[in-house]
């Protein structure tokens, strides 16, 4: 097992302990849905640049690539009955392994 793989496994183990359950819904056909666990963060004062770009109350969802290989703009993530529409998706890596999608939804 490579060092990067073992880091990824350790991160996924931590992720599973800290994450929250949501439902992902694909915007395009076939409009697939899947129950997954994600990291959920409301942007705060340290994220001023992101707030300037995406508005107060913008959120970052962290999604495991192993759960959803591709997430697109306008997909929906539903948490506790509230649906968030995906605005931007950015990749996060461990070494050269694509491990997470950083999914940003707009605030106000």
């Amino acid at each position: 097992m490579s060092l990067h793989q073992s880091i990824k496994d350790a991160q996924y183990d931590a992720f599973d302990r800290l994450s929250v359950g949501v439902t992902w819904t694909q915007a395009k056909a076939p409009n697939a849905t899947k129950d997954i666990r994600v990291g959920f963060k409301s942007l705060g004062w340290r994220d001023q640049e992101l707030i300037n770009a995406y508005g107060i109350g913008a959120k970052i969802f962290t999604v495991k690539v192993d759960d959803i290989p591709v997430i697109d703009k306008f997909d929906k993530i539903t948490l506790n009955g509230e649906a968030y529409t995906v605005n931007s998706v950015m990749p996060a890596y461990v070494g050269d392994m694509h491990t997470y999608h950083k999914v940003i939804v707009n605030g106000k």
């Binding site: 073992s6 931590a14 800290l18 990291g39 996060a92 950083k102």
Partner: protein, 189 residues
């Protein structure tokens, strides 16, 4: 030297008993495990016939040998090349009891001692396998065994702390192995 046939260790790491592709790693992990056991206990457990131990400034009624268990003492000679024969040996403790309390500038002891392949007792094998497995994992992960991870941070998600690890040499000997090896530590009676 391996404490068990190499086929046994191949199977332990998930290979066929005839698969020699990782013998070098197995030998490295095993040598390291035996060395860590020796450091922890201040004793050598692998068999050596005619092994020499030299002690300096020996005084008192007893002398604890490093190689264990001792089958026999071939010879014991002081710094003036006089044979020392007034003693008896506690084979199960590896301790020489001098009949008359002695004082030696230097003492050279030649012994037949240690466990041969396949003769290691079950409890020592449990301790050995704990360390061997950890060393194999370290080899497979490029030196980063999972047991050494103190905390994991996933950006924008959080941090999980697994508790601090002991940076002393003891951290290379897992707790179960330490519990077992404590009974084998060399000591002066």
């Amino acid at each position: 030297m391996l404490p068990v046939p190499i086929e046994t260790l191949r199977v332990r790491i998930g290979l066929e008993s005839s698969d020699a592709s990782r013998d070098t790693d197995i030998q490295t992990a095993s040598d390291t495990a035996l060395a860590l056991m020796a450091i922890y206990c201040d004793r050598y457990f692998d068999e050596l016939i005619g092994g020499t131990e030299i002690f300096t400034h020996v005084s008192g009624e007893t002398l604890g040998l490093k190689r264990y268990p001792v089958t026999q003492i071939q010879s014991m000679v002081d710094s003036n090349t006089n044979d020392v024969s007034a003693y008896h040996l506690g084979e199960l403790t590896g301790i020489i009891h001098f009949d008359v309390p002695g004082r030696f500038h230097e003492l050279t002891v030649v012994t037949d001692a240690g466990y041969a392949e396949g003769e290691f007792p079950d409890d020592l094998m449990v301790a050995y396998y704990q360390i061997f497995d950890q060393q194999m994992l370290a080899i497979e992960t490029g030196g980063q065994s999972a047991s050494n991870i103190e905390s994991v941070t996933v950006a924008d998600v959080g941090t999980v702390r697994y508790g601090s690890t002991d940076a002393s040499s003891g951290s290379y000997v897992p707790p179960l192995s330490q519990s077992i090896l404590d009974a084998y530590k060399r000591y002066e009676a």
